[in-house]
């Protein structure tokens, strides 16, 4: 428990609201970005972010520090997202182009038009993966979690994570091996 998040978490467990606010400042953007990509709209992403933190405060007493606070928070967010998704009718799950809502001053691959086009095609193909593989790609590549952390959040084995990522990469490679076509 040497990282700042763990220290703040320990303080928050003892009722320190300022420490809890610091934890919000540290993690809310990353959590929101993840849920925004998954849900496909800003309102639901904001709502799920609030629910995730609300559950985290309730469950904070049971956090024992076996994993990092970030991983633990992602695990709560995953369950919140799954509950939300089950409550949605399949037809009401819009897949928007979340990458189009991102700022233009992002670094590569957006500097060049060709690179930007390639990345957009790639993100679009990711959204067409099956749900489990899609969540795995989001956590590992977009959120930057390790294989073990991804497995812990999804509550699966590390080998399952590897298998899903392999499937995703193979799928994407086949898409990019085809002649260039517009995805949408």
């Amino acid at each position: 428990m040497s990282d700042p998040a763990s220290r703040l978490c320990e303080l928050a467990r003892n009722g320190d609201r300022e420490a809890a606010g610091e934890l919000v400042s540290l993690f809310y953007e990353r959590l929101y970005a993840w849920l925004r990509r998954l849900t496909g709209n800003e309102d639901d992403a904001a709502d799920l972010t609030q629910k995730t933190f609300a559950r985290a405060w309730v469950a904070l007493a049971s956090w024992q520090g076996r994993s990092s606070f970030s991983t633990w928070l992602h695990g709560i967010g995953h369950h919140v997202y799954v509950d939300w998704r089950r409550a949605q009718p399949p037809a009401a799950l819009p897949l928007d182009d979340w990458w189009t809502h991102c700022p233009d001053d992002a670094p590569d691959p957006f500097e060049k038009a060709a690179g930007r086009d390639l990345a957009e095609r790639l993100f679009a193909h990711v959204e067409r993966l099956d749900e489990d593989t899609r969540q795995t790609v989001h956590l590992h590549y977009y959120q930057g979690l390790s294989l073990a952390e991804t497995a812990e959040v999804l509550d699966v084995a590390t080998s399952t994570v590897k298998y899903r990522l392999r499937q995703a990469l193979d799928f994407l490679k086949t898409r990019f091996a085809e002649p260039k076509t517009h995805v949408r």
Partner: protein, 277 residues
């Protein structure tokens, strides 16, 4: 496009920016649970602190008791085993003894019968010896009887005056027939016939003649005064006979009424190897 390029592109995905005011909303919504109460450090009771040691000690003690009991039982079994082995070593001898016992048990009825017969025989022998003793007294009694008869005759009242007094001897024998009983052929038998003169004149025994060379008469009393008795010894040699034998001894005297008197001797003769024990 290879895996590496794909992964690089994926890792560089842009992050959507949160809505304005979300951070404040999140901070406002912080609802921390009350801190957990501090545990009061209370020392556990004494028995609870010592429970592991006590339970282990009890377990060890139980094991020791079980071990002691088992050791005792094993020792007893070993001793029993040794005794059984020793008994097994004498098994051959025991078998022989048992066979002998069974044989004796089968022969037991015959043995009992033989014992009974033996006892009966001993009893009979005793009776025979008693009778023989009694028989030895009989000649004396007879002789006494004769003597008394002779005295009675001599003391008879004198004849009436004028009557002719005739003086004659009168011969009487204690017995005219003598049975030696069962005798063994190798044992000569002897008997003395007692003769009495019951007359009033002297009795003269002129001759004692036997019917067989096996029977001889000893030196007999040739004169017997009135009222007196004499003896005629006879010896019988049964060596040449088997079974029942009767011999005659003829006595000649001057008794006018019985000048010749025949005496009989009898015997049941058996060979020595036929004799019963």
């Amino acid at each position: 496009m290879n895996d590496l390029q794909l992964e690089q592109l994926l890792r560089q995905a842009p992050a959507p920016q949160p809505l304005a005011g979300l951070k404040e909303q999140l901070k406002t919504g912080i609802r921390l649970a009350a801190p957990p109460p501090e545990r009061i450090a209370t020392a556990p009771p004494l028995w609870r602190r010592w429970f592991p040691a006590l339970s282990f000690s009890l377990l060890v003690l139980g094991c020791l008791v079980a071990l002691a009991v088992q050791t005792s039982q094993m020792r007893e079994l070993r001793r029993e085993n040794d005794s059984l082995r020793a008994a097994t070593a004498d098994m051959e001898e025991l078998r022989r003894d048992r066979a002998e016992f069974v044989r004796l048990r089968v022969a037991a009825p015959d043995l009992e019968l033989a014992k009974k017969e033996h006892n009966e025989l001993l009893k009979l022998r005793g009776e025979v010896s008693q009778l023989r003793t009694a028989a030895q007294v009989i000649p004396g009694l007879r002789a006494e009887n004769l003597r008394l008869q002779a005295l009675t005759a001599s003391a008879a009242p004198a004849p009436a005056p004028g009557a002719t007094l005739r003086t004659v001897p009168a011969i009487r024998f204690s017995e005219t027939n003598w049975d030696f009983g069962q005798v063994i052929s190798t044992e000569p038998q002897s008997h003395v016939f007692v003769v009495a003169n019951v007359g009033n004149a002297e009795l003269e025994i002129l001759e004692v003649k036997t019917s067989c060379g096996c029977t001889t008469a000893g030196a007999w009393d040739r004169r017997v005064a009135p009222g007196k008795t004499g003896m005629i010894p006879i010896v019988f040699n049964p060596s040449k006979f088997t079974g029942p034998v009767t011999k005659v001894v003829t006595v000649t005297s001057n008794d006018p009424e019985t000048p010749v008197q025949k005496l009989l001797i009898q015997a049941e003769i058996s060979r020595p190897n036929d004799a019963q024990p």
